[in-house]
């Protein structure tokens, strides 16, 4: 089936596969593209400030008021239509692909259906323009308009309904309570984390989608739809499809209008092409690469306008765009350079999207981009053959040329990945923007099969958002359902269910500690445990209790989303929704998963190792001694603090089975309690093991821990070893890390895993540096590690960037799953990234 399998010549981009760029030069805005228009475009996008825009919120509210009595799904459809028909639109200079997210470039629309009280609170009490990072500005007019709708949304937004429906037990561990598992993403925002079926959209166009819905509506058996739920759903789908068509046509009309006034003949011609493209793809399947790109961008943008989800991903761009590319090149419609320029302009258009996040979220998830708009390249095709295309290389060149951190690019490697693609990947990684991340088909495909997807769909996986494996176009995976701090579970397990550091400073003191209560169930005292195995048993029992509560909370959220926020437009683009007549939010997709992640693997493993070694084996410390030290945040116990942070204790990340087996136990216990639990959309739970940057937020709610963490310090990131303020716990270098980390079962963590590497530039310099980097990834992947991402930056550079932020304004670093401008990150996150062990081998 694939074009590649029939082809003889090797895929190649516009630069030689081994073209090298300077190492550790991850700065944006340095005119690194060979296309002047792309450089101008980048500089223009960098110039403006980020703003908050009221239009979407006002138009949605207007529709909710006007159509109050309509069924919810129809109301949501009409609200989307009201936005698409009435929001102001524009086309700027140098643009070739039109479209905005119901707000101007770099302006954040507001989604009051999901949450609004924090928006009003922050607007009044914590102005966005006074933030230390992630700053936004708002006009007086927009602020006034937002205030006007405040009263309407009281008690109606999803967050308020969710919280009102959760009981005390269900709340106590969450971000609303003690804060050791975070449900905030889906409590306050949309779900996202999906990919539309672009192949279907490209094959049928919006008219084709409409036909499909009309057929279903006409053949609907009223006896099987007594309450009219399906009929309403289909009518809602039609409303949104037609609104989408009109939105495209508004851009076509606008382009014509601007073209009429345009004096430069070349630009006039371009504007007419934009108009033709928008008009044609408003209803029809695209014919050229250019048309397909226009349809891809704006159709995706409408998903963002409807859903408020981040990590709305693009998927396998080098696969589904390939037929258009090939046709254009063969027919002479476009040259390779034309296509390259379009890809780069398209990449930059991802910078137009922005999302306003609340002030607590931005501590952990800094960065103002939409987030998670991922593209997946390479890998095998549905039949298991290498799927590399010219576009694979061209997209990697586009990263090197644009250096913008968007879209988030993942490259899939497999056993037959061409050497040329590995070299290209390594050379782009070495630039140091943190892009691309590398995924391992040898782990991801078995993990996907284990989750229950078909072999074809598993081979065709793409990466959603930061880390998650997804079968694009037919899945609603709730991939970012929660971040769950397993280090807190160990704390409760050694302290009989009570928090270490329990006291008046805690928000919950009055209902909990002061009343003589404890947070979790009583699972025994460390001092009374006869052996270390009792510690592990207590850990297991605490885990079971808290995973149950977490899942109850997630299920409540899921049901509220289904009830209040059906997504009829998205449903037209995800397989089986229209077929089944069920909204994507309610289980209409072919695959329905829920993915909560474990955080703090290293912290838990090293804590367990310290307890096992010092208390049960060497008997150097008593249980009371350790617990006292933790309660006192190590003050007065400095030697113990130094010791647990020293290499005299077994530590995860050093290829030391003693600690690595504890890490495996810690994560397996989490996975065992999460996996295969049913969710309310007819699917099941899939555990993930990664933190993205939630490890900083989760650290802020936890007192000192036995691994040598002081109170409030971040817990360990993703699968990485511990690095506390006293130092890094891994001392044996990258091969030892790779081996330790691959002792964990990545295939079991089917929602995804992640290991962040940080290399000093000197160790990846030159051809040998490049080849050693490739060899490292190869070995990690042979051992079934799933996913790696890289920072190529020296500590010195990061220290300088903290001191002189103006000189490093556009320095990109890898956070986890995504890249962001370092100087715009929150301080805890900056220090967390700086503290990751720098692997330097001089």
């Amino acid at each position: 089936m694939t074009l590649q399998s029939a082809r003889k010549e090797k895929p190649v981009g516009i630069t030689p596969f081994d073209r090298e760029w300077p190492v550790s030069d991850g700065h944006m805005g340095k005119n690194t593209s060979p296309f002047p228009r792309v450089n101008r475009f980048i500089n223009r996008v960098l110039e403006g400030e980020f703003t908050v825009d009221h239009q979407r919120a006002s138009l949605v509210t207007e529709a909710y008021q006007k159509y109050e009595r309509e069924p919810q799904v129809i109301k949501c459809a009409l609200a989307l239509a009201n936005v698409l028909d009435n929001v102001e639109i524009s086309i700027t200079e140098d643009e070739l692909i039109a479209g905005e997210m119901a707000a101007p470039m770099k302006a954040a629309p507001i989604f009051p259906e999901h949450s609004f009280s924090w928006v009003m609170d922050e607007m009044k009490n914590h102005p966005w323009h006074k933030r230390l990072h992630d700053r936004y500005y708002i006009s007086k007019h927009s602020a006034k308009k937002l205030r006007e709708i405040e009263s309407f949304w009281k008690g109606k937004s999803i967050d308020e309904v969710v919280i009102s429906e959760m009981n005390e037990d269900e709340l106590k561990g969450t971000n609303i309570g003690r804060g050791f598992y975070l449900l905030n993403l889906y409590m306050y925002g949309g779900i996202g984390h999906l990919q539309a079926n672009y192949e279907k959209l490209f094959a049928r166009g919006f008219y084709g989608l409409r036909e499909e819905v009309l057929e279903k509506l006409e053949s609907l058996d009223k006896h099987e739809d007594p309450a009219g739920a399906k009929e309403n759903f289909y009518r809602a789908e039609l409303i949104t499809i037609e609104a989408a068509i009109r939105y495209f046509q508004r851009y076509a009309a606008l382009a014509v209008k601007i073209a009429e006034k345009e004096k430069t003949p070349l630009r006039k011609q371009e504007l007419n092409i934009i108009a033709d493209n928008c008009r044609w793809v408003s209803t029809n399947p695209p014919r050229t690469f250019f048309e397909a790109l226009q349809l891809l961008y704006l159709a995706t943008t409408i998903i963002l306008i409807e859903t408020n989800g981040h990590s709305v991903s693009i998927g396998r761009f080098d696969q589904f765009m390939e037929p258009f590319y090939r046709r254009d090149i063969e027919s002479g419609e476009a040259t390779k350079e034309d296509i390259q320029e379009l890809i780069e302009l398209y990449f930059i258009k991802h910078l137009w999207w922005t999302k306003l996040r609340d002030r607590l979220t931005v501590i952990a998830n800094s960065g103002r981009g939409m987030g998670g708009d991922s593209i997946t390249l390479g890998g095998v095709d549905r039949e298991g053959n290498d799927a590399t295309t010219d576009l694979t290389f061209m997209c990697l060149d586009a990263i090197a040329h644009t250096r913008s951190g968007v879209p988030w690019v993942a490259v899939r490697w497999h056993e037959q990945t061409p050497w040329e693609l590995k070299v290209k990947t390594a050379n782009v990684i070495r630039i140091g923007t943190g892009q691309p991340k590398v995924f391992n088909d040898q782990a991801a495909i078995p993990a996907s099969l284990r989750a229950g997807r078909t072999l074809e769909d598993s081979r065709n996986y793409h990466v959603v958002g930061c880390v998650e494996i997804d079968s694009g176009g037919k899945e609603y995976g709730w991939h970012d359902a929660a971040y769950f701090n397993i280090a807190k579970i160990l704390e409760l397990a050694i302290n009989d269910g009570r928090c270490i550091g329990c006291g008046e400073h805690c928000d919950r003191w009055e209902n909990c500690g002061e009343m003589g209560k404890r947070l979790g169930p009583q699972t025994g005292k460390l001092a009374e445990f006869s052996s270390f195995d009792r510690v592990l048993e207590a850990y297991d029992r605490q885990m079971e209790y808290w995973v149950d509560l977490m899942i109850r909370g997630i299920e409540i959220m899921d049901r509220v989303h289904q009830r209040l926020k059906p997504l009829p437009y998205l449903s037209t683009l995800i397989d089986d929704c229209t077929e089944k007549g069920i909204d994507v939010s309610a289980g209409g997709a072919r695959y329905n998963f829920t993915g909560p992640q474990a955080v703090g693997v290293g912290t838990t493993a090293d804590g367990m190792a310290a307890i096992k070694q010092l208390i049960f084996e060497e008997k150097k410390v008593t249980a009371e001694g350790l617990l006292n030290a933790l309660e006192n945040n190590w003050v007065g116990d400095e030697p113990l603090y130094a010791l647990v942070n020293s290499d005299k204790i077994h530590h995860y990340g050093n290829d030391d089975d003693y600690a690595d087996e504890l890490a495996k136990f810690a994560t397996d216990t989490y996975c065992r309690h999460v996996e295969n639990r049913p969710n309310c959309r007819g699917g099941k739970y899939l555990p993930g093991v990664y933190s993205v940057s939630a490890n900083t937020a989760l650290g802020l709610t936890q007192w000192a821990s036995a691994d040598g963490r002081v109170a409030l310090e971040p817990v360990s990131d993703c699968l990485g070893p511990v690095h506390t303020w006293a130092g890094s716990h891994d001392t044996k270098g990258p091969s030892a890390i790779a081996k330790s980390v691959t002792k964990l079962d990545h295939i079991r963590a089917a929602n995804g895993t992640l290991l962040n590497w940080k290399f000093s530039p000197s160790c990846v310099t030159g051809e040998t540096g490049r080849d050693n980097l490739i060899a490292l990834i190869d070995v990690y992947f042979d051992r079934r590690g799933m996913h790696s991402q890289f920072n190529i930056v020296s500590r010195e550079t990061l220290e300088n960037a903290i001191k002189n932020p103006e000189e490093y304004r556009y320095l990109l670093v890898r956070v986890a799953g995504y890249s962001a401008f370092f100087v715009e990150l929150s301080k805890p996150l900056q220090y967390d990234i700086m503290g990751r062990t720098e692997l330097s081998f001089d």
Binding site: E638, P639, P734, A736, T765, E767, A775, L776, V779, F841
Partner: protein
Amino acid sequence: MTDLNKQGYVTNIQRYTIHDGPGIRTEVFLKGCPLNCKWCSNPECIRPAPEVGVYPDRCIGLDKCGFCLSACPAGEISALKTENNRVMAINRGSCTACLSCAKACPANALITWGKLYTVQEVVDAVLEDVPFYNKSGGGVTLSGGDPLIQWEFSLAILKECKEHGIHTCLETEHHISPGILNIVYPSVDLVITDIKHMDPQKHRVYTGVDNKLILHNIAETAKKEMPLVIRIPVIPGHNDSRENIEATARFIVGSLKNRVLQVQLLPYRQLGIEKYRSLGIPYGMEDFQPPEREIWEKNILSLAELLKTYGIPAVAGSSSRPSG
């Protein structure tokens, strides 16, 4: 049969080194060196016996800890020098190198340089990274110090590694009896050696020994057609004159018949200061002001060019692959 229980002193087994030989390697640093180079960056490998290094900055305070003082068998007249509530240094005269203080220290303020390993233990550690060697064309590198100070121990390691099919690289100063080289070389796949100076007098001043034996051994190594990489540590104001580099070039072309895989010119970096202090050894380059990076980089590049005019495969730095 290789004696796997044979013991030797190792200061460090470093995994994933990438500059001393091809590919990803495990580097075994052995203790003891016949030379005493002024610029040595591994002073912990110079003396043959184990010793304790002191890092006062890491000391958490004698009032809070003091485990080292209690552990020192010298008792009242402790071998540990203290100041401002910290352990500062070791009175090497009264220290018996029993290492008790380093074992007791929880904070790595006192550390042991040189631990006794069996051949089996070293080889086991080397075997951990076989998949990385296989992917990258790497292997094991014995370094130091000079591994041939403990040549029987080193030979046993090399032999056992060869048994496991691991590529072996030996970094040696070549200040050793030629007969030992003859015994060791059959177990070595690549030799890395330094030429620090061509002038015997200056060589003695900077390294403590004459260069005659060294140059003889290097010439013999080339004659045996051993794969050979030569390194010149370029120390500004010491050996970086064009005369010295040209003399080196004549030696390589003449005595070695240019039978070298690569000649690497390595920049001097002031790396070892902390270690010198920790060992209580005066650092010969303490007051040396290294020139600006642009200047030495340019200088090294021009010296490499100079060597190339002799047809020598010279490179600046150690991260390019030999073309041979």
